[in-house]
Subunit: 243 residues, 2 copies
């Protein structure tokens, strides 16, 4: 049975998240509905990462198995014709039978964008903060994250997981010419709410509300209540998934 | 009486254009209403360029005179606090009494973005075209534009103007890594609908529907009916106004 891998871009603004759910519009459901229309059969889509409500994706990946004999290019064209315009399929390829977008993934990369000036064009895709930061302190916090392995302090409490260990491959703040700050973070896995909790806490460090010592203590406490407020979803984007 | 110059960014998606009008929401009206609230007086805003419905701006400029004694920083803060989030004031400065955002402007710069892949995140800010172009032909058309001075063939017929002469300072297509095409065009003035008519006609050249010879003939005909269809507004952005 052919196994098709999709790369998907979406504007998370009007979605309740990636995952199918009882109340609210989800990306998974929209694509599954379009696939059912194309194949005339019920299709289950396995996504690499469950992005939250309001979070965007430039390179989400997902796969589905089907006995329909359409080519990847057929799926690419038919999906882009049928999907609402806040979802786009940027690639469709056939993959091996044992490929799973979720379990075969080696790492996921996210970006978080903080804008430091008023903007009408970036408001849907950034967190706009006008106060001053010490970017060097935020970079120090990022270097602490790079040598951290247990992220329980940055995980939503209701999350059902076996353990809280993540291998961080990249965690770096870049500052653009106009002062925009972008966190690039890549890891083998991310816990629920982890990037937004990390960004909120690093912003507290940049503002001087939390010292680097406190930041290390928060990590060691393994208690979500000690970390900062979650940064808002619209600044977050799933950039790519690596296999 | 202090004369205040504003630099303004807006997302044109939900506007009927810059200019105040009877039916439809305009950027000018929203800002004038906010200024009236701040100064408790009626304020008239003079804009540098009248962008059409759906066209965006990163650096529109406008000025107003007022006997209110607020500082430019006060206006900056109060406007960004009061304005809807699809308008942002990015700068407010006091200028000389004879400054007019419209009549003092030396040139205006626009960008037009053509995306050649499906995208959910750029759909509000680009024209998405999946067919093939010859970018070299489009560059040739741009070089013809650089040595053209009469643009009547690219002007909406109802426009009330004395003459159709424009001095083109820049007209250049850039191709980005992912195939995105961006026209950067700067001129002392633009006629109504001019950039979108030029882009539509240059796309016809890139697709091979219109030869460079035909393109020159269209210009010489001075007849809007000979030029191509107007490119859609969402790909167009007023980048800056120079004084």
């Amino acid at each position: 049975m052919p196994n098709i891998k999709l790369t998907i871009e979406y504007d998370g603004t009007d979605f309740a998240g990636w995952q199918r759910q009882k109340n609210g519009r989800s990306v998974q459901e929209e694509i599954e509905r379009a696939l059912a229309q194309i194949t005339q059969k019920s299709v289950t889509l396995v996504g690499a990462g469950r992005t939250d409500a309001g979070v965007h994706a430039r390179g989400q990946t997902a796969n589905f198995k089907t006995d329909s004999q359409l080519s990847p290019l057929d799926y690419f064209r038919a999906l882009n014709g049928l999907l609402p315009d806040d979802i786009a399929v940027t690639e469709a390829v056939e993959v091996g039978d044992d490929f799973s977008a979720r379990y075969s993934a080696v790492s996921r990369a996210y970006k978080y964008t903080i804008l430091r000036r008023p903007s009408a064009l970036m408001r849907r895709y950034s967190w706009q903060l006008s106060y001053d930061f010490n970017i060097n302190l935020m970079r120090e916090a990022a270097s602490v994250i790079r040598s951290t392995s247990d992220f329980q302090a940055f995980c939503k409490v209701e999350a059902e997981v076996d353990h809280y260990r993540c291998r961080i491959d990249e965690a770096e703040w870049h500052e653009e010419e106009d002062g925009t700050l972008i966190l690039s973070i890549r890891a083998n896995r991310f816990l629920h709410g982890m990037v937004r909790a990390l960004v909120g806490t690093m912003v507290d460090v940049g503002r001087g509300y939390t010292t680097i010592g406190d930041f290390c203590w928060i990590i060691e406490s393994k208690d979500r209540r000690h970390a900062g407020q979650a940064a808002p979803p619209q600044g977050l984007c799933l950039i790519s998934v690596h296999y």
